[in-house]
């Protein structure tokens, strides 16, 4: 007789699953719950911080001119904002009677122009003292991240750069700029350029480049119109000397009949 082959099941072997104990499950649930609770808490913290930032930015600038410190703090405080938060800031500043752009001490046009402002200007322009401020604010707004601050990966959001006019100058560069001699300009003025071209300032037309070759322009005579105005034989149907074609044909017919009679 053939030797006995051990019977092997063709069904899938069941893996001995390690059943989690009650305590294990509880611990995992607790960890998950804590994780989510911490996420929500972080979100609330950042929202509260943004509100605090809005409150701080409401009072800027303290003087008539924004100081470099204030400009720097504006750029840093606004870092966590979403574009909608900046809109909220503009709204709040308007209620306080200040221009929507944080570094501007003037009052918005909704106050300076009065009740008529809303139909003289677009609704967004009313919140600022001038179009320049509106543009500067837009410059900042476009840099803000659409993703809320609590979902941002660290390092993705670039630091906010202010508009060139408001960029805080460090004391060193400000000093260097003030020491710069007045006569040294970046662009030469008209006088220098004229000298370079060899024109004398006392010349006949000093600002224009002179050439000694004279080129005759080709003259064009006005084209003669076919029908002269007030021609002696113009009929009563002519409009400013022009005879409409249909009218001409009719006239000819009329003339024929006239001739017959």
């Amino acid at each position: 007789m053939a030797s006995k082959v051990p019977v092997k099941s063709i069904l899938k072997q069941k893996q001995p699953a390690d059943i989690p104990t009650e305590a294990d499950r509880n611990r995992r649930n607790l960890a998950i719950a804590l994780h989510h609770a911490n996420l929500i808490q972080a979100q609330k913290d950042i929202q509260a911080q943004i509100l605090l930032c809005i409150e701080k930015l409401l009072d800027l600038p303290t003087g008539s001119e924004p100081t470099p410190d204030e400009a720097r703090s504006f750029a840093s405080l606004v870092y966590n904002f979403q574009p909608s938060d900046l809109d909220a800031l503009v709204e709040e500043r308007n209620i306080e009677g200040k221009c929507g752009y944080t570094l501007c001490p003037n009052s918005p046009r909704s106050r300076s122009i009065g009740a008529n402002a809303s139909w003289k200007l677009s609704s967004a322009a009313v919140d600022y003292c001038s179009d320049i401020c509106a543009r500067k604010n837009l410059y900042v707004k476009t840099q803000l991240g659409e993703i809320p601050a609590w979902q941002r990966e660290p390092g993705i959001q670039a630091p906010i750069v202010l508009h060139e006019d408001d960029q805080p100058k460090s004391e060193k560069t400000a000093a260097v700029q003030s020491r710069k001699p007045v006569w040294k300009k970046t662009a030469a003025d008209d006088k220098d350029l004229a000298m370079e071209r060899g024109e004398t300032p006392n010349g006949f037309r000093p600002k224009q480049v002179m050439t000694d070759m004279i080129v005759e322009k080709s003259t064009t005579t006005p084209r003669k119109t076919k029908v002269a105005f007030k021609e002696p034989n113009a009929s009563h149907t002519a409009i400013e000397g022009y005879e409409p074609k249909s009218a001409v044909r009719n006239d000819e017919g009329d003339e024929d009949t006239d001739d017959d009679t």
Partner: protein
């Protein structure tokens, strides 16, 4: 101009009356006369010489009745044998500013904390800005409630289609859950921003009993858990 004043006055009279009735319904100490003030009386007390209403004069405070204090007392716990009632004096202010921002609400919040009021009710003519509303959760445990004037023109609790809502005390809530062998999560719910929930000043976790008319049963009570 005087016509406009009188219209504004009667509008504010209705708002004032509803606010008082709301506070009385919540359980604050207010007399029946105060809650049903007549227009003439209102004009005599709160209007200036030109007949225009003065909102700053309408400010009032009210203390909770003992019943209300009992209702708001949480259950005794092993650590706290005699818990404090979670309710106190209410301060109601009326604001007529055309724009209400963070600063306006902060001022009111500061007043609440200075005078140590438990609840503040701010009735505003215009809608506060969205960032101003975000202040409210930061003030806890002081409760600040904001109502628009137009929402208080009519007392909604007196409308025919609005059933009677009553707040259950912590003890009543416990008894209810034991009676029906429920967990509170198994109750039907009501949002805290529901108009009637706002009217009663419900807080998260409280239970209201709602008694409706029923054709078959005469009266029908249901319970809702505020979330």
């Amino acid at each position: 101009m005087s016509d406009e004043n009188s219209r504004e006055l009667s509008r504010l009279w209705r708002i004032f009356r509803t606010t008082k009735q709301m506070c009385a319904d919540r359980g604050y100490e207010l007399t029946e006369d105060e809650c049903h003030i007549s227009l003439d009386q209102f004009r005599a007390e709160y209007a200036d010489s030109s007949g225009a209403p003065q909102r700053h004069k309408m400010t009032f405070t009210a203390r909770p009745t003992t019943e209300m204090q009992k209702k708001y007392t949480p259950l005794a716990r092993p650590g706290q044998p005699t818990p404090e009632p979670q309710i106190g004096t209410v301060h109601v202010e009326f604001n007529g500013d055309p724009n209400l921002g963070v600063k306006g609400l902060k001022q009111f919040a500061q007043l609440l904390s200075e005078k140590n009021y438990y609840t503040g009710i701010f009735v505003t003519q215009s809608a506060p800005t969205s960032s101003a509303l975000k202040i409210i959760p930061s003030l806890l445990p002081t409760v600040m409630e904001i109502f628009r004037e137009e929402d208080l023109l009519v007392n909604i609790s007196k409308h025919e289609l609005v059933p009677k809502h009553t707040l259950l005390s912590a003890e009543d809530k416990k008894r209810l859950l034991e009676r029906y062998r429920l967990k509170e999560t198994q109750l039907p719910r009501i949002r805290v921003d529901d108009p009637m929930a706002k009217y009663l000043g419900l807080r998260r976790g409280q239970v209201v009993k709602i008694i409706r008319k029923s054709e078959t049963a005469g009266r029908y009570a249901s319970y809702r858990w505020a979330i």
